[in-house]
Amino acid sequence: MTALTLAAQPAKETTLRPVPWRNMLWVTWRQHRATLISVPALFAAIGVFLLIMGLHIHHDYAVLKACHPFTSAACQALNSNFNMTDWTIGNTVNILLNLAPALVGAFAGGPMLARELETGTYRYSWTQGFGRARWAVAKLTIVAVTITVAAGAFSQLFSWFFQPFLAQESLTVLNATVFATHGIAFAAWTLLAFSAGALAGMFFRRTVPAMAVTLGVYTGLAIATWTVLRKHYLPAVVTSGPIPYTNGPTNPNMPWVLRTWTSGHTQWVSYIPVSRFWPMQFVESGWLLALSILLIAATVWLVRRRAA
């Protein structure tokens, strides 16, 4: 065979210029194409479903609101139909969506590094000129941003879809399961689950345990947030007298009533008004973002330190 020869080696630069970060765009795309396509595609597919269902639900709700007089038999039939059929769909979708970040975290985050370690390709990836810590930072950031943006866009659509139920079902948007699927919290929870998955994958070096741990950590943290943390983000309002905004059959401004009690002849109530929705969203998303950055930093630290 004719020998192929390498061109003469140029003199090495005295100071090494690192391989440009932008090279990781192609690398990450090529290597994590499945994740980068399937997660946004899944959100888009559910989004189309929500859009079609949402148009129906908004139509039903508009008809119901326009029905007059409300006490008539026809209006009551519409009302019960909305509460039965439409709300069943809305409630189910909302509850399922609470699991979505965990699934994204487990299936997208878990294998990110665990698969490299499982298949031994880390011996290839970590000995290239790019450097393993930068490699980990770049690919985790690219995938995390993609997933978070997709989840964020999706939850805006979902908020629109869910709007009629907040009023009709006398739910508060601060409600345990509703708060996390609205605003920016849904994206933040998705980011957190992804980061937890990546760290678990690097820690356990196996995809399956990493996925299981991700589901467990997300569930535990989500329940702790619903039951303990969220009510303490901002001080509750304490007043005497009737609970505000609760009169009327439908009300989109239902507060989150934490506690009612009587002392002497006075009735007291502590509650969180709906006006605190966005401040609380920022608090929750803030600590989730900070925790996610911490988890990703820990993952990169493990990539740097972990002996083969």
Partner: protein
Amino acid sequence: MNVIETTGLGKRYGRTWALRECTLAIPQGSLAALVGPNGAGKTTLMQMAVGLAVPSAGAVTVLGGQPAGSAAALDGIAFVGQDAPMHKNLSAGDMLHLTKNLNRSFDLHYAQARLAQLGIPLKRKSGKLSGGQQAQLALTLALARRPRLLILDEPLAMLDPLARHDFMATVMAAMADDGVSVLLSSHALAELERVADYLVLLSGGMVQLDGEVEELLACHRVLTGPAAEADAYAKRLNVILARRAEAQAHLLVRSGGIPEPAAPGWQAHTVSLEELVMSYLRSPGADVRSLVPQEVAS
């Protein structure tokens, strides 16, 4: 300049030392063969040299004093791990582009031309290639980076004799054309005989023998003579391995400097590299590094 230099290097996994007290200096421009039984610490040594593993003791530098795993070290060293690790679901062509993007320099034309010459289709998934093709692809990816040091862990294990020959021919061509230094671990002693000019023999996590192949061969001889006199004669010599047939004894001896003429009734033979390595492997207790005279060791 030494491409790999270790001082008192050790690696412990749990309570077991995979490598201990390893002090080596592998000179630039050589093809160094790393041999030893399974579990001797060959892979551990290589992984520390490429920065995949962190030493538990001692230090390792590469390419004339760069810390292992540093940016400069990663840039100048191409490593092919055991079983040629690659992303199995990526095509050969994708692996080229992946490696191109992950390195400062990558000779895409060379890589493509070489794969074409080897008949490796660019569109075939790397996991679907034969063992020999995977090894060749991994070597191509490594060489196209134009490394100054190429580290190959058991590259010949998956290859048939013809593929071994082609693989080594590629390595030798790169050494001749590009001046790349090579560290290669292998059990294929016959293959190494023709190509290696530096030898490191590990046994039980320790360096048992190391040096320029020519010098090692020059200071070892096999003495053949009457078995009855062997014990008495052996006392005066540094015997690595003694084998006895019916009436004859074969002593592999190591001498410092110019070997003495054989005693009357004894014949001296030169040894082959394979014979030398086999003898040391058969007598793992023979630690003769301390007896090596300075001019031979350096």
